[in-house]
Amino acid sequence: MNDEKIIYFDNGDTTRIDDEVLDYMLQFYRTSYGNPVSLHSLGIEADENIASARETIAGFINADANELIFTSGATESNNMAINGIAGFYKEKGDHILISSIEHSSVKAVAHRLENEGFEVEEVKVDKQGFLDIEDLRSKIRTKTILVSVIYGNFEIGTVQNIREIGAVCRENNIVFHTDAAQAYGKMRIDVKDENIDLMTFNAHKNHGPKGVGALYVRKGIKLKKMIDGGSHEFGMRSGSENIPAIMGFALASEIAYRDLEINNSHLIKMRDRLADGLLQIDHVTYNGAHGENIDKRLPHNVDITFQYIEGEAILMHLSLRNICVSSGSACSSKTLEPSHVLTAIGLKHEQAHGSIRFTLSKFTTEEEVDSVIQNVKEVVEILRSMSSFIPEEHSELINKDAKTFYKKK
């Protein structure tokens, strides 16, 4: 595929690595390739390198360096957090609360614990995806040991009031975990100020390498360890650290936080231009925080439901036009279930099926945004013209002779 021609609007999934980051990483394969647990000079050098990366990354979230555990990414961090807390605090309680819009690496892990005798409940969100704090309060019990709420939602872009949720957990002496995989690098996060006990984040959402992430664990919070073996990562996560990736993680974070204001003002401008353009299409809805809450939306996320058509077909048409997006449709998932995030915010199944997520990056240009708007308009028109699911009152959407219409294209 010709990379030049691809318009990549799936940056909420993963991003293109910065050249600067990739170049920087190579020396940790070629020359400084030691293992920090070794006693010799290369080992000492590696130990110093990883310590400085840890220090750097911790600084961006106002944590101490020894409160960070490097992992293989956000999925592992989420597994480590949920299983680790459940494993360590099971004597204290058996009740876990998660929001109804968590990533599957929180949702699936939590529900799996039900097989081990834990009770897992989901806290409601409103129509824009904001956690219902009263529902959270009412579901807290003396046996609740963990609350996990996603920081910025991967699908609908809604950013929670983490400080307030954290405060409710503190009041009730419950460990609070947040999955900040989408928010890190795009928002300024302060774990102390925001009452966060555990936080998941990673590198590849911010033009860093894949296969590396971290879990912040506040001093005093204990986890049952999942991987036994050596003494890496304070004994919590054995296995030789992925030093090149960790170094790339640190540099990608530095760049992201150095340029945060510039990037965000660009992203917000592109996001709103894209949303405005797409919302001109009839029978569409903007999913997630918008309107007066637009400031509480991730700067790179637009999620739209196109009524009467199905998301995978939209996605495939766009893909054939070299535009990469993602969909909350069941047909683009392995289980044939529509996205639980979209149904949690009250979308009917048929609305969830017609949803497309566009996620932008600092590389996104105005030309790309305009091209995507134009292409989406065309694709939506094509698919609606042939849809078997147009209500009578909107029969103008149906092309009476769809065959001719197709040939024209």
């Binding site: 998301g311 077909a313 495939m316 449709s329 047909c331 289980t335 009917k348 078997s388 149906i398």
Partner: protein, 219 residues
């Protein structure tokens, strides 16, 4: 999940054949539902003398393979006798497209069964068949379950040996499905599909579907 479609599938998706609605049709059916994310509508012109399908059009609300299977299904049946079409296997559309990803095999079932449903309506209308007595036999039930495709394997749940027990006691129907422990996530979809297919058959039975994992736990 990256979906790899064949060239034929992409071709039928982007340039579907026989699209639209036949103004003077004498048979019509809509299969599937918007809630499931796939629904196909067929209008047919069947010659009442020869019983040959002379013309057919489709409309689709669905994914790329839904559109492609419906498109090729119209090609397959055009010019054929309805009795021939009634005997057609539900994987016919998929194989003509050079195969579909396992998770998409149900699209082929929908595409073929939609046409069969239109033929059934037509036959009723001309008095070729009387409205079948809805006595559910174990054999009939098995045939219905043969239209439920396991999303992971792309094979129907009868041939994939997922159905471990069928019992019909008067108005009560019990179906026990067994899944591998790592297939639990498919349970809601399979359950929903079974309910929907049985409802579509308009059978008035009380249906109980139990799904268990091979470790013995109920899902």
């Amino acid at each position: 999940m990256a979906l790899k479609y064949t060239k034929e599938t992409i071709e039928h998706f982007t340039k579907p054949h026989n699209l639209g609605t036949l103004e003077n049709h004498n048979a019509e059916a809509t299969e599937g539902s918007p809630a499931c994310g796939d629904m196909v509508n067929y209008t047919l012109q069947i010659n009442p003398e020869t019983l040959i399908i002379e013309d057919i059009r489709f409309r689709s609300y669905g994914c790329a393979s839904n559109i492609a299977t419906a498109s090729i299904a119209t090609d397959i049946v055009k010019g054929r006798h309805i009795d021939e079409v009634k005997k057609m296997g539900t994987s016919e559309a998929a194989s003509k497209l050079g195969g579909l990803p396992p998770v998409k095999m149900h699209c082929s079932v929908l595409a073929i069964n939609g046409i069969k449903a239109a033929i059934r309506e037509f036959e009723k209308k001309i008095g070729r068949i009387v409205d079948e007595q809805r006595v559910l036999t174990e054999k009939a039930l098995k045939n219905i379950l043969k239209d439920i495709i396991h999303p992971k394997h792309g094979i129907n749940i009868i041939d994939n040996n997922n159905v471990t027990r069928i019992k019909i006691e008067g108005q009560n129907v019990y179906i026990v499905i067994e899944l591998e422990p790592d297939e639990e996530m498919f349970a809601p979809n399979i359950r929903e599909e079974i309910q929907e297919h049985l409802e579509a058959m308009k059978c008035s039975h009380e249906i109980m579907v139990k799904i268990e994992s091979k470790t013995g736990q109920f899902i």
